[in-house]
Symmetry: C3
Subunit: 137 residues, 3 copies
């Protein structure tokens, strides 16, 4: 269900980009309970100048290694789960790349369950919700 857009500076290696991709996916699985095979991401390499980032905001300092992670996902997760997701993503990115946790900017865009098709023109969650109206995720 999540469609993830990762934007990262071109100075990161392909290995680091893959580590960011993986860190985001693992956090979504572990914290939001996303199925392991529910993986849809655009990982965009950005040339110098294509990412504009404040050097500091809310006491957090940003460098030229900053990455953006924008996640379109279904609504309904608690604030506590969202906080755990952000912490897990930032820690995972910092563990697998040169990007410090401070440089991981995250934004969720929640969009209702009938707004998704995972292929074949089927609204998978709408179909499932009709069958099991009270189903979770």
């Amino acid at each position: 269900m999540p469609l993830v857009r990762i934007d990262h500076p071109a100075i990161l290696t392909a290995t680091e980009a893959a580590a960011i991709s993986q860190a985001v996916h693992v956090a979504l699985i572990q914290v939001f309970g996303v199925p392991a095979d529910d993986l849809f991401q655009v990982v965009a390499r950005r040339a110098p100048g294509e990412m504009v980032v404040s050097p500091q905001y809310l006491g957090i300092r940003h460098s030229d290694l900053a990455v953006f992670v924008q996640i379109a996902c279904s609504p309904g997760r608690s604030v506590g789960l969202k906080e755990e997701l952000y912490a897990r993503i930032a820690a995972g990115v910092a563990a697998g790349t040169r990007v410090p946790a401070d440089d991981v900017i995250i934004n969720l865009v929640e969009t209702v369950r009938d707004n998704w098709s995972f292929g074949a023109g089927i609204a998978h969650y709408a179909v499932r919700d009709r069958a099991r109206p009270a189903s979770a995720s």
Copy 2:
């Protein structure tokens, strides 16, 4: 009103990319009743590694031809209309390209009508809704 982001693998030809663009637009016209001259899309060609796609999810298999279609649009369409839109887009893409219908991933992001300006700094729908509060579309 829709702002459409299409991400497709670079192995598709320019002709195929244009066919995807057109298939999405025609489906929006025919199913959502979008005006024919309401056409705003980013069609992004993605290098290998920039798109990360699960090989299979919910029984649908995905290949290295998978495309993402993310559509920001006004809210209010019924689930039935959304289902028809997905079916029409997937069929149109499959008819005009090598991309099978299974590889067409679609996500809608609904955003209210006063969130749009189509140029000249005017909030076109907000202006229209003030004039005709009960207007459709």
Copy 3:
């Protein structure tokens, strides 16, 4: 808080791209009251064919200089403020580039305050809102 995606045709110069980036940021500061150091943008240079734009919609004509400005931001601004934002962005872009005001397409995507992390895995606004439940912005 805003995460801004600017898509512009590659025929614009780097100076013009920077002027668009700056015009959007200044308008967000002056109209939406966004802090000056709350600056997170992707400014994407698009090759010919990557942007598909209607030649005319709602009486506004578009050229091959058209730019898209998509802003993910917190909800709650009035329609009047949004209208002022659009006007300010369009005027600022027209003043600093060859892009006419008619060619500035804007879309807001509003997403709740606990959907943001500005680094270090912290949900900054969620933390702040717990401390000051009635806080603005």
